[in-house]
């Protein structure tokens, strides 16, 4: 087993454990801590996949901005931020549905082959060419959607709205 495989197995295990822990702990602030570890772990997986630009973007957008936004959401909606959630049990039906989805997806994995394949390294400068020339319209669409959603968010939370 090569060093990369050991690193991948380690990172994948951390990702699954932290994602599950984030949804199972009862204090919301602890959830944010687990999810921050999850985002940093995913960024490490991007570095492992030779996509350094995405790794940095994941660190900046998810581990940085989204985590802090969620923390602000908790801080402004409750008086004591360390208050515990009411216990919500693990229902049998949602658990079964999640498991069925997982098994269904894993059963399709064999279609893609289980042999080792090389990971291609792309120079990040080619990514910018691809992003701004080939996929330029998508980036423009992203900008428009961001503008519309931020206007919508301000409309939702503005003062004096009945």
């Amino acid at each position: 087993m090569s060093l990369e495989e050991i690193a991948f197995l380690f990172l994948a295990l951390i990702a699954l454990v932290t994602a599950a822990a984030a949804l199972l702990v009862r204090e919301l602030v602890h959830t944010i801590l687990w999810i921050a570890i999850f985002f940093v772990d995913l960024s490490a997986i991007y570095f492992l996949l030779d996509a350094p630009f995405l790794g940095v973007l994941q660190l900046g957008v998810y581990a940085g901005a989204v985590t802090v936004l969620l923390l602000f959401g908790i801080m402004v909606t409750r008086k004591r931020i360390f208050a515990r959630e009411a216990a919500t049990g693990i229902g049998a039906t949602p658990m079964a549905l999640a498991l069925v989805t997982f098994i269904f997806l894993v059963s399709a994995v064999s279609e893609f082959g289980t042999s080792e394949q090389p990971i291609r390294y792309y120079d990040p400068s080619y990514l910018s060419t691809n992003l701004f020339q080939t996929n330029g319209p998508w980036l423009l669409l992203l900008g428009l959607i961001m503008l519309a959603s931020v206007s919508g968010a301000i409309y939702l939370v503005r003062e004096g709205r009945e």
């Binding site: 495989e5 693990i90 999640a98 994995v109 959603s149």
Partner: protein, 105 residues
Amino acid sequence: MTTLVLAGFLVLSAGLLGISLFGILTRRNFILLLISIEIGMNAAILNFVYFGAFAGASTGLTGQAIAVVLIGFAATEIAVGLAIVLALNRLKGSINVAQANELKL
């Protein structure tokens, strides 16, 4: 050159999607719901990146480009989600989604 098995990554993102689905179905707190959606979104983005990494040179970078756009979409979604959380908290006094039973916020 790094070599890895594609199937391992697929199992990882299937697991993440299962966890995310479980969270969406069971949690009643709006912020936990948003976090569940984010986990599912990350599973999808991960799919794009490693299919791109294993694909040929002509399509490989498109996977990463789509991932960049998707990360932007996810951040936008969190911003709108938190605006809904704040509006819900002001109107109902809590962020329990079971109390958000009217379309009008």
